[in-house]
């Protein structure tokens, strides 16, 4: 196995174990891993951005291919840096105005179309279906999202939740029943979201533990076992040292 793969496995194992020590208590090993994560992420982002944006998208097309039209976005983008010069800080507003203007112009029509119109179109569904002979039919299956029964559930859910967030009318009498129904729908939605979140977090734990199991094999030099021993020994040493420095009760 190549050295860089084994080295990578040792680094990944060590950092995973250091991060997991936080479940026991906050400690310097966790801090090291946390700071490394932030530092490496920022360093990687800077290098990749410089390589992609400055070199590949600006320098090479301009200098090698003579596409000098790129000077326009380059100048507008550079105006952002004017914020660091107090006397010229106003010039950065031109760049920000450009970004906000273009961003809004691009996003607003598309977002209205995709999130509002399309979703309304899907929400407003017929409560009964027309058969080919002209008669009406009603499907009762709760498991089929397109059934008529589910269209009614959807209608009740949308109306009651919208009413719950309508604060201009006091929620009393029949209004209270509708608002309570809205809360019920919201609770079910939050429950589903929480369930999925738990599943996602457990998946992350499964991913890390799978890697730790893989890296405990002899081809990786039993990285997990060695680093687990080092981590536990270090934690014990830190705890002993802290006890020694703590003032007596």
């Amino acid at each position: 196995m190549p050295f860089e793969v084994i080295f990578g496995a040792w680094v990944a194992t060590g950092l995973t174990l250091f991060i997991l020590t936080f479940l026991y208590e906050d400690n310097p090993l966790f801090k090291i891993a946390e700071h490394l994560y932030v530092g490496v992420s920022v360093g990687y982002a800077i290098v990749k951005t410089y390589d992609t944006v400055v070199i590949r998208l600006i320098y090479e097309p301009m200098v090698k291919q003579g596409d000098w039209s790129l000077l326009v976005p380059l100048v507008i983008g550079s105006l952002m840096l004017a914020r660091y010069v107090p006397k010229a800080a106003w010039m950065s507003r031109i760049a920000f105005a450009f970004v906000v203007g273009v961003g809004s112009g691009l996003a607003i029509p598309r977002v209205i179309s995709s999130y509002i119109l399309k979703q309304i179109e899907d929400t407003v569904r017929p409560l009964v279906s027309l058969a080919t002979d002209g008669s009406t039919t009603f499907t009762y299956s709760l498991l089929d999202p397109a059934s008529n029964l589910n269209a009614i559930v959807l209608l009740i859910g949308v109306v009651s939740v919208l009413f719950y967030f309508f604060f201009s009318v006091e929620h009393t009498g029949p209004g209270k029943v509708v608002a309570r129904t809205g809360i019920l729908f919201l609770m079910i939605a939050f429950g589903a979201a929480f369930g999925y979140t738990v599943m996602a977090r457990m998946s992350l734990l499964i991913g890390r533990l799978s890697d730790l199991i893989d890296y405990s094999h002899p081809e990786y030099g039993r990285a997990t076992w060695w680093l687990l021993a080092v981590t536990i020994a270090t934690l014990i040493a830190f705890r002993a040292r802290r006890r020694g420095t703590e003032p007596p009760q």
Partner: protein, 279 residues
């Protein structure tokens, strides 16, 4: 102090240890619980299955290493399926921190499936802008990505023959850990350039994407590690996702048990408190 009170004030590290063991033991000794394929995952599979050889499949790996356990197995399964169907694969990412990992998964799976870079697949890398990149690709793919990740001019690549913009792409799947991701691909891509779009996502953002699935804005959704396991079952190549399903079930069972126990202890304390108050 009663048993219920003691249990409710238990050291949380014991719970961490319990969850850790519930995850670790099934990983070491798998049971092989059955995995049922959901219709939303099957839709993605069926669409790729229906594409003729040589069709263009774009996989956007819009996630970073923090979401690797959930989305990496999805990427592996999708790439294997696309290569098995002899599709022309375009890999890319809208997430800067995930660039290296995305390149690694695309090139590794291609190598394992005997595919050649530039001829059977290309990894375009990352370009800044999120939605703007998609719009740019919809107008001219070569302006958005003049070179691929390995700095090869994209116009010279055989894999992109006949592909001028997103309109020439048969199927796009975005594997997303948040925004920029599936919604961005829909809003700035599918809605305008009319290609078919599927999605894969982390469990956290899955509930927010079901409205898009129901309205037909995306044709399928692979949700979390569970979705990846279902896709592995469909392609008949069980990998890390299937291996993790026993652990997932065990931890879910443990969490449900803990929630029930906590409620039982809570209500028993409340009931005993009321009884004591009456006396």
């Amino acid at each position: 102090m009663s048993l219920a009170e003691r249990m409710l004030s238990i050291d949380r590290r014991i719970i961490f240890l319990m969850i850790g063991l519930c995850t670790l033991i099934p990983l070491l000794y798998p049971v092989g619980l059955a995995i049922k394929v959901s219709p939303e995952v099957k839709s993605v599979y069926d669409y790729i299955e229906s594409l003729p050889a040589g069709s263009v499949f774009l996989l956007s790996l819009d996630f970073d290493p923090a979401s690797k356990p959930e989305l990496y197995p999805q990427a592996v399964a999708l790439m294997r399926h696309a290569f098995k169907k002899n599709l022309r694969v375009i890999g890319m990412t809208l997430w800067l921190p995930g660039t290296g990992m995305a390149n690694e998964v695309v090139s590794r799976i291609a190598r394992e499936e005997g595919k050649v870079a530039g001829k059977d697949y290309v990894f375009l890398g990352w370009s800044p802008g999120g939605g703007s990149v998609i719009i740019n690709m919809g107008q001219d793919l070569y302006k958005a990505f003049p070179t691929d990740y390995n700095n090869q001019p994209t116009r010279d690549l055989a894999v992109l023959n006949g592909v001028q913009s997103l309109r020439d792409v048969n199927y796009v799947v975005s594997l997303a850990a948040g925004t920029t991701g599936i919604e961005t691909w829909y809003v700035f891509g599918k809605d305008k350039y009319k290609f078919e779009l599927g999605g894969g996502c982390t469990g956290v953002i899955a509930p927010g994407l079901y409205p898009l699935l129901r309205s037909g804005q995306i044709n399928g959704l692979i949700g979390g590690l569970r979705g990846a396991a279902e896709y592995e079952v469909l392609i008949g190549k069980k990998g890390k996702a299937v291996a993790g399903m026993d652990a997932q079930s065990a931890t879910h069972f443990a969490i449900i048990l803990l929630v029930i126990l906590c409620n039982v202890f809570y209500f028993s304390i409340r009931t005993s408190g009321k009884t004591a108050g009456q006396h």
